[in-house]
């Protein structure tokens, strides 16, 4: 498989090649984190494990595309990792006795190892952007090139960030384990924040025609699903998984053929993945039965209400308003109040919504959607000149091409 941005000639058969690449990526993602997790546990050292794992993964990147994916990819990677470990680690007293344990199937290999890996990568002693990069690299097995192109930074910067992070994990004594019960809630919130950030990053940049860029929403969904398997008792994990799936089930209608943003009210709901929506809505119900509500479950419930509504007009707005009130109790943020104001407009009319929006002026004056939303209310209330002013202000505050196109269309 060609890595993104390596400048090779375009392949002749895009479809077949992309399918092969996706299959390879899927196997790779499934196996890379498993290998990293078990090797880290056996060696007891994040940095040493990384060295061994990376060599095995590189060998797979080189060989699998031409030789085909081996029948037992996990065993193949283990053999490669073990060979490397014997080469580089056996001279070191700290690891000599541990190297023989590096064999497939990994002793006590369970999914628990990956859970430890996730919590270590998302440790609060690392910056959030480092947590994101480290999770993509170590848990999902992305190449540094893929991470760099996903976040539009240089590969050197990503490599440096990852090197520093591994060094800190080793020297600062960041433990390799699932946190104790009394800390689990807070630490899990940190992990979910990383997955949600990853999802948003992928979701927002999906407008552009960049097929060579990795779809981070796919990695975010995969991580959330993995976490839901590993921690089935945690309702917020189910909530986040449902939220991601509900968005992805409707992603196809977000942009028109010219790549312009289509607002929810104008989207062709017949094209949504209704089976996917129903399954995700079931997840929301399953999570709610655990009676420990949280922000991801509530957001998922809001999106489920929209996704299951036959049209914009026939949406259950009073129910969504109640959900926003609940969400604000968990996360009192001005942006959530702005979204609630839009819902309020559907329940009580544009004047109530405008009053509510105006109250957010000092918090959101630099936020383009604040002005774009005000413009809509002002138009509904019959103030076209003021609406235009607000749209112009919004246009001046966003660089996103899809959003700019929509605003320019309004102003034309």
């Amino acid at each position: 498989m060609a890595r993104a941005g390596d400048g090779r000639d375009p392949p002749r058969d895009d479809g077949a090649l992309n399918a092969a690449r996706d299959a390879l990526s899927a196997v790779f993602r499934e196996e890379a984190g498993r290998l990293a997790a078990s090797v880290t546990r056996i060696l007891g050292d994040f940095e040493a494990a990384e060295e061994v794992v990376q060599d095995a993964l590189l060998a797979a990147w080189r060989q699998w595309p031409s030789d085909g994916i081996p029948e037992r990819p996990g065993a193949w990677l283990w053999t490669a990792a073990r060979r490397r470990a014997i080469d580089v680690l056996r001279r070191n007293v700290r690891y000599r006795e541990r190297v023989p344990a590096l064999s497939f199937p990994a002793e006590q290999a369970g999914e628990d190892d990956r859970l430890m890996l996730i919590f270590t990568c998302c440790h609060p002693a690392l910056s959030q952007e480092t947590q994101v990069a480290l999770t993509l690299r170590t848990v999902c097995g992305l190449s540094t090139g893929e991470i760099a192109s996903a976040f539009l930074v240089s590969e050197a910067a990503i490599i440096q960030r990852l090197t520093r992070a591994r060094r800190k994990i080793a020297t600062a004594g960041i433990p390799y384990r699932v946190p104790a019960d009394d800390e689990l809630g807070q630490r899990l919130a940190g992990v979910l924040a990383v997955i949600y950030l990853l999802f948003n990053e992928g979701y927002l940049c999906s407008a552009g025609d960049t097929p060579q860029r990795r779809d981070l929403t796919d990695d975010a969904e995969w991580l959330a699903a993995l976490l839901a398997r590993l921690m089935p008792a945690e309702p917020e994990v189910l909530g986040l998984l449902a939220l991601i799936r509900l968005h992805r089930a409707r992603a196809v209608t977000r942009f028109d053929a010219e790549g312009r943003l289509v607002l929810l009210r104008d989207q062709d709901r017949a094209r949504w993945d209704h089976a996917g929506i129903a399954a995700a809505a079931d997840l929301v119900v399953r999570a709610a039965q655990k009676r420990r509500p949280g922000p991801y479950q509530i957001q998922a419930a809001i999106v489920a209400c929209h996704a299951e509504a036959p049209s914009w007009a026939a949406t259950d707005w009073p129910q969504i308003l109640l959900l926003y009130d609940a969400l604000l109790r968990h996360q009192p943020s001005p942006v959530i109040r702005l979204h609630r104001a839009i819902v309020l407009g559907q329940v009580l009319g544009p004047q109530a919504a405008l009053d509510e929006t105006d109250a957010l002026a000092c918090d959101l004056d630099r936020y383009h959607l604040y002005h774009a939303t005000r413009a809509e209310f002002l138009r509904e209330l019959g103030h076209p000149a003021r609406a235009r002013q607000a749209d112009e202000r919004a246009l001046g505050l966003t660089a996103n091409p899809a959003e700019r196109a929509l605003l320019e269309q309004r102003l034309a």
């Binding site: 440790h123 002693a125 020297t171 600062a172 004594g173 960041i174 433990p175 946190p179 800390e183």
Partner: protein, 116 residues
């Protein structure tokens, strides 16, 4: 693992400390003493430092002899008020300890270089 906890504070933290009544001050010192007693088994050397106004720094430049200046190394409003060496299992245990520090301000956790 060995760490040093550095008890740091900003000018605002110092002002809040100065503004405490004698009773509040006594209560705060009792809490701090209680914290040290609670973690006694894990704490090695520890000291409270005199204020940054008492500090003298010796700076080594690229050329010439070191320069002696009046004042602390950390410029601006932050300063280190004291330290404690601790011996704990890992960063999580150090974090748990630091989070219960009653002296407010900021606690910086630094691993100590060991011999290998």
């Amino acid at each position: 693992m060995k760490y040093v906890l550095l008890f740091c504070g900003s000018a605002e933290d110092a002002a809040a400390f100065e503004a405490m009544t004698p009773d509040e001050l006594r209560a705060r010192y009792a809490q701090v003493a209680g914290w040290f007693a609670q973690h006694k088994a894990k704490i090695g050397g520890t000291n409270q430092l005199q204020g940054p106004a008492t500090a003298t720094s010796v700076r080594f430049g690229p050329h010439g002899p070191p320069v002696v200046t009046d004042g602390p190394y950390l410029e601006g409003k932050e300063s280190i008020g004291g330290y404690a060496e601790i011996e704990v299992a890992d960063l999580d245990e150090a974090l748990r300890m630091a989070k219960t520090w009653p002296g407010r301000g900021t606690v910086e956790i630094r691993p100590v270089t060991t011999g290998h």
